[in-house]
Subunit: 214 residues, 2 copies
């Protein structure tokens, strides 16, 4: 059995949303709808400034190289596999560059039956039709000594958290309010016990890492 940790690592608005209202396939062509694109950009503003992120998405040279950047790079390096929900995948399929930014196997929870989809740069999407335990089993076999990241969305994170399967998680609190959207913790079981492992603040974002007590 692999010793990989299962974790998630998300940016959240102060009112607890990880995606704004309107950030979905129906409005992918309509960034003005509820200003979803500009809301999303505010949430991720700190990320777009970091050298590691810019390099990974081939945006441009340069970028910040402080503790925010180190954190992104460490999270990328520890990740051997990602798991994501169908809606996140569908939106990503539209927006990721051809060389998708994962560079590892990615297991997509979906009812759609589909052959693995291989992208240049080492990302292969596998489509899992039989639930979170099955996806986690596949992920453990593929992760090697690295960790397994639940990439999102909120609903998939919720399912793993409430099932007691998550080992730890990091929230990057961005100083922005969404009002509506996909809430990170709506419906979290209050029996889930967590402890603060680390909190780090930069000018633009506060990172808090929690360990889940089993």
């Amino acid at each position: 059995m692999s010793k990989s940790n299962l974790f998630f690592d998300v940016a959240a608005s102060l009112d607890g949303f990880i995606a704004p209202e309107g950030m979905d396939l129906a409005h992918a062509n309509d960034p003005e709808f509820k200003q979803w694109m500009s809301q999303w950009t505010k949430l991720q503003n700190w990320v777009f400034q970091q050298q590691f992120f810019r390099k990974n998405l081939k945006l441009s040279d340069g970028g910040a190289t402080g503790s925010d950047n180190r954190m992104l790079e460490e999270t990328f390096n520890r990740t051997g596999v990602s798991i994501m929900g169908k809606r996140m995948f569908e939106l990503g399929e539209r927006f990721w560059p051809e060389e998708a930014p994962f560079h590892t196997p990615v297991f997509v929870l979906t009812h759609q039956v589909r052959k693995p989809w291989e992208r240049p740069g080492g990302t292969t999407f596998h489509f899992i039709n039989d639930g979170i335990d099955s996806a986690l089993g596949h992920a453990r076999r593929a992760a090697g000594n690295r960790d397994i990241r639940i990439a999102g969305g909120a609903n998939v994170i919720q399912q793993y958290l409430n099932a007691g399967l998550v080992d730890e998680f990091t929230i990057h609190y961005s100083p922005v309010f969404f009002g509506h959207g996909a809430q990170l913790f709506s419906g979290t079981n209050k029996e889930v016990q967590v402890k603060i492992k680390q909190a780090v603040a930069s000018k633009e974002v506060t990172h808090i890492t929690f360990g889940v007590e089993m």
Copy 2:
């Protein structure tokens, strides 16, 4: 015109609640209902350990004297006046000791017409029947050079925040999930612009202070 800042300072669960479900007048005698009392205690666990808090409530000598304690003491000392909602007051009327822990004027937003209620130790509750602007006007006149704290609950905080009247706020994120309860930021206007002023982490809680940009 007074130069007092208007602020709030609350402990929040990770899923964004500042009070658990069942923490209301109807269940004041029933701490087992939804385990509201034990949920509340988990949220405030770090507070009960601090020397300043214990002294102020005359609980016992001793207590922690680190940065969490200093933060509580500074918040108390800067506060010349508090403003609170009717439901918070009603519950406090039941649970505060005779010497209520404010030691300043407190303006209560309510429809109830009632004469000022003076408590030993310097706390006097004044009952305001004509809305948040009126309460703030009274508070400014009473605050002197000190600041004005919106004590709660969530609904009153929300009203002041959306009206653009709040200068800054501090959230103490406790590592606990409530699932249901009074949500701090439900209905916050997404036009409210904030910046991180300070983030401080201790073992039990992460304190983040935000400035509101007008």
